[in-house]
Symmetry: C2
Subunit: 232 residues, 2 copies
DNA sequence: CAATCCGTGTAATCGATGCTTACATTCACA
DNA sequence: TGTGAATGTAAGCATCGATTACACGGATTG
């Protein structure tokens, strides 16, 4: 395990120490932050399991043992990466929903799905790290857990509004909720796991297909007689 | 990485050598088979990344280098496990479809989804190994690839029959195809990745919920006026 | 029947990793 | 100004995957 890395003694000194930009100071300055960034970069390059404490230390220009002053274990480092990723994910979803039209709850629910898929497909490795519990335990991280709960709540509220507005053709919100989540999570993972080409969906069409299946789902749960959710 | 294992010199000799059941023979007899079985067991215990060549060798009662006579790399061993898992998966899906009523293609499509989820939830770690391409490359394994293609074809044909029979409310089979796959794949992964509790679905209700969301999806794509797919 | 060949297993070794411990350095506060 | 806590270094342990040289022995031949 753990790839060789190919970047042993390259670019260190990336402007962190406040005092003098001269010879390498004994103390790094903001090692924790830099380690997280290096680890996020590693995740982006080779997925969660490509994260190695030594490599992160190497990229930070620091000895192999140094990271353990900031993270008790490799898992803790990965956890920090996950928290950062989850924070960005939640921020983007919420921003997208803020842009959605206030009326038409079902249309907002749709926007939620689209925004979810857009971020997941644009940040596949980071999406994976916050999804697959193999790399860290959601419930052990207050940050990730609460961010996630917030997104779940957002989805639940939006769907409840759609029901109140008479836009749904079913009353079992929990089923719709889970099915919707399974749909977007499944498509995101199909993209990440490289299944889409096997289903005849090329990289170029992926985003379009993502929107299409969300629309298909929305149409499936919408009240038949009601006006269809606006396609934004 | 790689867990300690805790089973160093325990039960070796598990009845493989043909000649004499006496003292351990120099040659194992059927090491390749036993290694795959040990690796499958490891996958079942701790997921794909819990597979270690040394541990498999240990369980087979053989030296750490021996497995490399049969598998050029750890990945090749995992690949063999994946092929075996995919074979079983395909067999079970096909068996389930064979039991489904011949008429009512949409009902058969539903059975496909149910059988898919049943196997995935019963064999989470093996499902993961054949799904997530992080552990091996589908397209590099003829066995896995062809088994998978067969399942995709099965799904496509069934859905096309449903369209011919006038059971569908849409004509874009590809969208329905992908959405259906995303739905079941997503739910299976939610189960594997431990998301369901966060969505208020306990272990006991998981199988029921799986069936419910498949039904919800089927209802969503079915022709409105048509008779609903039989709930088997 | 005997000699040899080659598939298969062993032993030793390499470099990578996560993690720990003992020591060194420097920052910040009294 | 001094001193303690924070933070980095050096060295070392265990595990792992993978390679290499060697040992065994069943099967094929002459």
């Amino acid at each position: 395990m753990r790839r060789p890395a190919k970047t042993p003694p390259a670019g260190r000194r990336s402007a962190k120490p406040r005092p003098a930009p001269a010879a390498k100071p004994y103390h790094h300055g903001d090692l924790r932050r830099v380690l997280i960034e290096a680890a996020m970069q590693l995740v982006g390059e080779g997925g969660p399991e490509a994260v190695s404490v030594r490599e992160a230390a190497r990229r930070a220009g620091v000895s192999p043992g140094a990271p353990f002053r900031h993270f008790p274990s490799r898992d803790a480092l990965i956890n920090a990466v996950a928290e950062e990723a989850q924070r960005r994910f939640r921020a983007e979803i919420q921003a997208a929903l803020a842009d959605a039209p206030p009326g038409d709850p079902l249309g907002r629910f749709r926007c939620l799905g689209i925004a979810y898929l857009r971020w997941a497909m644009k940040n596949p490795t980071h999406f994976e790290i916050i999804s697959s519990r193999r790399f860290f335990d959601h419930d052990r991280s207050a940050g990730v857990s609460s961010d996630n709960a917030e997104l779940i709540g957002l989805s639940e509220r939006t769907l409840a509004e759609a029901l109140s507005a008479g836009q749904l053709g079913t009353r079992d919100l929990k089923q719709v909720q889970i099915a919707g989540r399974a749909l977007v999570y499944g498509f995101a993972r199909m993209h990440i796991d490289g299944h889409l080409p096997r289903w005849g969906v090329g990289e170029a069409e992926a985003e379009r297909m993502a929107a299409d299946i969300v629309d298909l789902f929305i149409a499936g749960i919408a009240k038949r007689s009601a006006a269809p959710a606006a396609k934004v």
